[in-house]
Symmetry: C2
Subunit: 153 residues, 2 copies
DNA sequence: TATTGTTATACTCTATAACTATA
DNA sequence: TATAGTTATAGAGTATAACAATA
């Protein structure tokens, strides 16, 4: 009984740390993106195209786990702001292929560079064994969490 | 040069794990809350009152880092759904004190129980030294991240 | 018939500004 | 005058449903 109580406190501590990390990361990401005129959704869309090349709006809807209607709105706004461009599909005239403008590409690359910079800030002064322990712990958390989330989809 | 490149990969790996944890936690929290008829904002409001007792809408606006106008809307909706209740302030008739209904209290307690359950799920099978390493790593990340966020506010 | 994307409509969270009632 | 909360209005992200163009 005493043992269980003791463990419960350790779990709570660990979970508190995880939750605070989630909140602070979310906050940091939002302000970084906002400085570039991007919301979380817009950044996600930009990133998917940067990784996979020009995508149809249907494909974007699946990648962002959102209805096709929302992609229309996101692409409208991002096209107006010069991040993306609608183009025809060579084989299917129903499809609108969304690609990045030069500005979209450079924004994606800057986001990537800032992410690496954050990595250096967070881990650059961390002892190697602490970093190893962190990654090992996170990997185990992810191994438990991933199937939990998959099941709920 | 080779050393730096090596470290950069280690940082990227660690950051990737952190970001995936953030995304999955966020997803898990949202679906857990949605099952109870709560959004993230509503849950935050509920939690603040549960921790601190009845609060004025001004205090809630500060706690949620949101304009007072939004509290009006959140409280309207949550009162309609039976989670909270507006009451008078004994000393100042301008103030609307928001407190939890019995349903609000039990919802907050259920959320807390589910959080502990998640802690058991994630950490219950984790070796003690791995858990220690995880917490140590997260603490160092938070020590770097907290001042970064504070500065941006 | 089925698929792609759009128009029409509505809900939640967010913000600013003007206003009411208290202090 | 200053504060607490509301009404009025607007914008972003989300959802469903009906529809046009294309397959």
């Amino acid at each position: 009984m005493k043992y269980h109580h003791h463990m419960a406190e350790r779990f709570d501590t660990a979970l508190d740390r995880m939750l605070e990390v989630v909140v602070l990361f979310d906050h940091d990401m939002r302000s970084t993106l906002a400085a570039r005129g991007l919301s979380t959704s817009r950044a996600h869309l930009l990133w998917e195209i940067h990784r996979h090349g020009p995508l149809s709006q249907r494909e974007l809807a699946q990648a962002l786990q959102v209805t096709p209607r929302n992609i229309t709105g996101l692409v409208d706004g991002m096209a107006a702001d010069g991040f993306v461009l609608r183009g025809p599909d060579p084989a299917d005239r129903r499809i609108s292929r969304v690609s990045l403008t030069p500005r979209g590409v450079s924004t994606a690359e800057e986001m990537r560079a800032e992410q690496q910079e954050l990595g250096r800030t967070l881990f650059g002064t961390m002892p190697a064994d602490t970093l190893d322990g962190l990654v090992r712990g996170l990997d185990q958390v992810l191994a438990t969490l991933r199937p939990l989330i998959d099941r709920s989809n």
